[in-house]
Structure formats: structure tokens, C-alpha cells
């Protein structure tokens, strides 16, 4: 049997097509992007005037200037990450705990809370956009609250924040479900033992349940962080044309409206670096023993 399982031809047939395909579509392009980011502009655009320029674009990206929105964009993506990690995730955790500890209607709640996740993010954005333009102003008026100048999505101060809300809303269910699953898999006897010892409610949660689902919390954090840096769909639909206030949007505009392909590539590489850095940080914080379970996900946030 060992011979069969080690037969080189067979292995090639099973593995090689995928590896080649993957390398060609995923790996080569990312290195090409890296290469382009180090040129002053790509050859396809300016022919022989294209030359190596090192980290010039990376410096330009962060040079302060009134017209440079990239530093602000990075700050915005960090804000999203912060809101997600410190508000969205705890909220999801709270709901997960409530459900896992037993309430009436547990499975119904669980099913319904997940529904936003299965709706297309474009639909979510458009729905919330409509809400911002019609229902929300009415609600604010009846409560006598001040509506931001130029509308929720027009006001400079509030528009980024309001563009975050739909996708934060959408993925609460996703994180909640993952945490719920982890909570449910804590062996019952541990819970019982703790309850017998007098632990209940908050103490049970903080002393026993949360520590025991650390691996899953790490997975959720990972999805959340990577998703924050990549965030594109909702803001693109909701904000004004050619908005550059988030890294992924900025990259898109530089690439397709301004046709600065090398500069856009540098921004893309920066996004990847952000994800890498935070993944490493996450691993350090969680001090994971098993090297493979780094919990990287495609990013839902």
C-alpha cells in the first residue's frame, strides 16, 4: 500500500494541477503586484520610461498633504477594526452566551440571527442606504434629534461611521454562531460542576466559558481584523463616487479612475501587510502552540 500511496505519478496527478493553477492565479499575481509597486509606473502604460523606484510609492502614500487621503483611510480601517473588536464581537459574544445558557426560543433566535449573513452584502448596503435616506431621518425628527448636516451619508463626520454599520450589523450573526458552537461544545460536566459550586451568570461566563472558547475567539478576531482592512463592498455602494476614505476604496480609485497602477499596487501590498502584521500579533497574543491553527480566514467582519 505504501508503494501505491507514494507513487510519484499518482501524487502528481492529484496535487500538481491544483498547485500549478493556484500558483498561476494567486501567487504569481501577488508577486507581480509587489514588483509593480516598486516601479514608478508599469511598462504597459509608459513603455521604456518605466523604471525601478523602490519604496517611493510607499513614502508618498504616507506623506502628509491635504490631498493625500491614504493615511486617513488607514486610520478609518483601524477604527472599523476597533469597533468590530470592542463592540461588535462582545455584542455577539453576549448573545451567544445568552443563547448557549438556555433561553426559551433558543433555536429560533439562532436561526433568525444568522439570516443577515446569508443576504448579499450589496442588498444589505442598498437597504440600509434607503433606510438612511428615508426612515432614519423621520425617526430622528420624531425624537427631536439633530440630523447631521447634508444627511447621514453626506456629512463629512458621520458618513464613514454610517457606512460601517450595515456590515457590522450583517456579521454579528456570523460571529455569534461560531461562538455559540464553541460554547455548546464545552463539556456539560464542567458547567455543572461550576454551577454546583455556586457560579452563575457573569461569573460562569468570565471564569469558565470564555476562557474555554479561546481558540474560537481567536478565529473570530482573525476574521474580523482581516475583514476590516479589506472592507470594500458596503462603503463602495453607499459612499460617493471615487471616495478614497478606506484603503481598499483608495486602491480601487487609484487603479481604475486615476490609472496610477504602480501606486495602487503599493496600496494593495500595504493592505496585505496590515493583515499579515495583525495575524502575527494575534498569534503572539494568543500564544498558540499548534503552528498550523493560525485561524486565518477569508475575512468576514
Amino acid at each position: 500500500m505504501k508503494r501505491v500511496l507514494s507513487n510519484k505519478w499518482n501524487i502528481a496527478v492529484f496535487v500538481l494541477p491544483t498547485v500549478l493553477f493556484f500558483t498561476y492565479i494567486v501567487i504569481f499575481p501577488i508577486f507581480k503586484t509587489l514588483w509593480y509597486s516598486l516601479l514608478n509606473e508599469i511598462p504597459a502604460k509608459i513603455g521604456d520610461q518605466s523604471h525601478f523606484s523602490g519604496i517611493e510609492h510607499y513614502i508618498t502614500m504616507f506623506t502628509p498633504g491635504r490631498r493625500n487621503s491614504f493615511p486617513g483611510a488607514v486610520v478609518n480601517s483601524l477604527s472599523y477594526a476597533a469597533i468590530s473588536v470592542f463592540i461588535q464581537l462582545p455584542f455577539s459574544l453576549f448573545i451567544a452566551l445568552l443563547l448557549a445558557n438556555g433561553v426559551k426560543g433558543e433555536s429560533m433566535y439562532r436561526n433568525v440571527f444568522f439570516i443577515p449573513v446569508v443576504i448579499s452584502s450589496v442588498v444589505v448596503s442598498l437597504l440600509w442606504g434607503r433606510l438612511y435616506k428615508s426612515l432614519l431621518p423621520q425617526i430622528f425628527e420624531s425624537l427631536n434629534w439633530e440630523i447631521p448636516k447634508n444627511g447621514f451619508l453626506g456629512n463629512e463626520q458621520t458618513k464613514i461611521l454610517f457606512s460601517f454599520i450595515p456590515s457590522l450589523w450583517q456579521y454579528v450573526g456570523y460571529h455569534m454562531l461560531l461562538m455559540y458552537g464553541a460554547l455548546k461544545s464545552i463539556p456539560d460536566d464542567i458547567i455543572e460542576a461550576a454551577t454546583v459550586d455556586g457560579a452563575s451568570g457573569p461569573m460562569l461566563a468570565f471564569r469558565i466559558q470564555i476562557p474555554m472558547i479561546k481558540p474560537m475567539l481567536k478565529v473570530c478576531l482573525s476574521f474580523s481584523l482581516i475583514g476590516s482592512f479589506k472592507l470594500f463592498d458596503t462603503p463602495w455602494v453607499l459612499l460617493e463616487r471615487s471616495n478614497m476614505d478606506l484603503p481598499a476604496l483608495s486602491m480601487y480609485v487609484e487603479m481604475f479612475s486615476n490609472h496610477k497602477y504602480s501606486y495602487a499596487s503599493a496600496q494593495a501590498i500595504f493592505i496585505v501587510l496590515e493583515c499579515l502584521v495583525f495575524t502575527v500579533l494575534l498569534n503572539v497574543v494568543f500564544k498558540d502552540r499548534d503552528g498550523k491553527r493560525l485561524g486565518r480566514g477569508k475575512g468576514a467582519a
Partner: protein, 413 residues
Amino acid sequence: MKKLLAVALAVAMLLGMVSIASADEPVVLKVASIWSAESEANRAPMLKTLEQFAEAHPEIKLEVEWYEANAWKDQGETLALSDSLPDVFYWNAGGVLWNLVSSGDILPLNDYLTDEITDQLIGGALANMTFDGKVYQLPYTNACSCLYCNTELFEKYGVKIPETWDELLEAVKAFKAAGVTPMALGGGDKWPTNMYTDLIALRFVGDEACRACYYKTEGATFKTQDWVDAMTAFKTLIDLGAFPEDAISLTRDESEVPYFAGEIPMYVHGQWFSGSLSPEMQQKVKAVKFPAVGKGYDNQWMGGPAEGFSISAHTEHPAEAFVACQFLAQHQSDNGFECGAGLPAWKTEVQCGNPVMNQIATQVAEGDSLLLWGNTALSGDDATLIGDTVYDLLAGKITPEQWTEDMETIFGK
């Protein structure tokens, strides 16, 4: 041996059949057009044009892909980079065209343009699509922008249709006092704001100085008092509350809804807007020249042939592509004008059934000059910049002085 012969014979016959078949087959050309949405004024005329082409030229088959205008802007240049532009495609003129011309992606048309053909064009039709004596596009429409006034609302509130800048301000104040939003604006898309600022700039700065800036000629500058005055005038409109509260987040389509519903009396926009008006609205709306400011630039217009059809430099069938390009341009000019989607760029006997379009056609024919809009004359990030800066002005983020400073940076390259 016999088998071999039989096979050889079969193959030869097959090849023979194939070559006969392909001799009869029509040449297939790939075409890209915008106006993918049913609501686009130019879509119906274009469909008619395509039908007419199919009848007139059965030897050429057109495979048309429809795009939304903004999306095509993004995709087109990227297709150019990999030499995969369609054979014939819609494109803007001016700096936007120059972008592709300079990288060798557009076929010059001079070899195919006979005097007979060029005689059929209106005067100055090729101005924005000719570089270094070579023609790179054929226009299907002559563009311009003007002020659209809903006469019903003006009568209802006893306001005079403005002919001067001061009258415009009076009209704005009067409507505002009556609780009516005076002017429509889709600030979220940015370029509708340029419609306003370009015309205002034209009145305060004049065709010559604006042209120098938009075409980045030697010695041009934004840092003059005229430019500051122009943007200050625009700011005055904003401060008077001429535009909807949330104008800055509205798309162009959204912003036009209240105008169509007869709730907003004024709108500065391109001539194609007349084609979007319903027949009843066409009776109520009057298109007028943008109000006068009194500096001598008052009979100048923004516009000029600014869009058309171009041919990819990498096409395999240049002769057929030219036939298609010229036919599409000329017939779309007729069909579009007939239903009021645009002004003709080719000489025509066709009459337009849209009274508003006729008003525009008569007035612009008497104009002194036509200047291409800034965001079309400029290209790349310069074009993006002029959209961003007026957006910031609308948002109150920058002052008129800062606007001129920001725009001045386009010369620093």
C-alpha cells in the same frame, strides 16, 4: 494506403468547405456601448441605429456589449493596457481620449476619412478628437449645458426666469422663501457639480483662460482673482441653500427624481437631459442660456462634441471597423436628435420632436464658443481632482481660495 488517401480526401474536402463557408461569413466586429439601462435617453436611438446597420451592411456583424457609463470608464482603460479593446467602442473626447491615443491604442482615421464624409460633419465637429492633425474619433452628438427651468413652478411662485446672475440669486431666494428647493444637484457623483462650476467659471473667467487651464497650456494658472470670484459665486449659491440638504450624497439619478416630479424648478445639466424629460414635462420646461454675469463672456457655452466612437488600434478589420464606426456615429446623431437625446454632430434634415431640445439647438447655434468640460478635457488624476475639489467645495470643506490652490497642483507635473 487506401485509408490514408481516403482520410486525405476527406480533410481536403472539409478544408475546402470551411474556406468557402468563411468567404461568405460576415466579418464579426466587437462593439462596446454605454446606455445599458433602459432609462438612458440614448438607448432607444442606439437600438434603432443598430437595426439600420444590420439592414444596410449584412456583410458585417456587430456583437454589442452594453455597459453602464461609469463602469465602462473604469474598464476601458484597463482593457487598453492588455490590447483587448473592442473593435469599435464608445469613448469620450478630449484628454480622456488623449490618454488612449498616447499609448497607441486608437486607430487614426485619416486614411479612411474622405472629403465627402467630413463635409457631412458640422463645423468644428472634430476639434476635440484631433491630435497632431490625426483624427481619432467620430462624434455622434454635440454637447452643451444649459439651465432647465420648470416654467410652471416659476409662474406658480411669481418668479422671473433669470437672465442675469443677480436675477438667479433672486430666484433662488424667492423659491427658498416659499419652501421650495431651488436647484437639483447629484453631488455624490461629483461630475454633476462640475456642470455648475464649469458654467459659472466660464462666466467669470472666460473661455480663453478656462481653455488654457483645462488644456494645460503654457502659462495657464488657476490662481487669479477671476477664478476665486467664480468659486465664491458658486459658494454663494450653496450658502443660500440653492441645493438640497443632502445633495452631496445624492447620485445623479436620485437628484433628478424631484425635478421630474415637478418639485424643483431649476437644473443645470447637459443637453441630453432634455431627452430624459417626459412628454408632459417637455411642454413645461424651458431651456435657457446660463445667466449673464456681465464680464463679456455671456454668450459662451460649455460643451462641444465630447463623445463618439473610436476604433481600436489592434483591430483585425480596420476597413470594416471604419464603416461601422462612421455609420454608427452618423446615424446615432440623427436618431438621437430626432428623439431629443442629443444635438446632432452631422448635418441633418431630421427634425426633433422635443421642444426643449429645439430651444437648445437654436441658442447654442448662436453661441460664441464651445469649451469642453474640465473633467473631460483633463485626464487621469487631474480629472479626478477637479471632481474632488468641487465636491469639497460643496461640502464646505475648503474655501474658494483653497480650491484654486488645489487645482493649481495639476501644473506641477
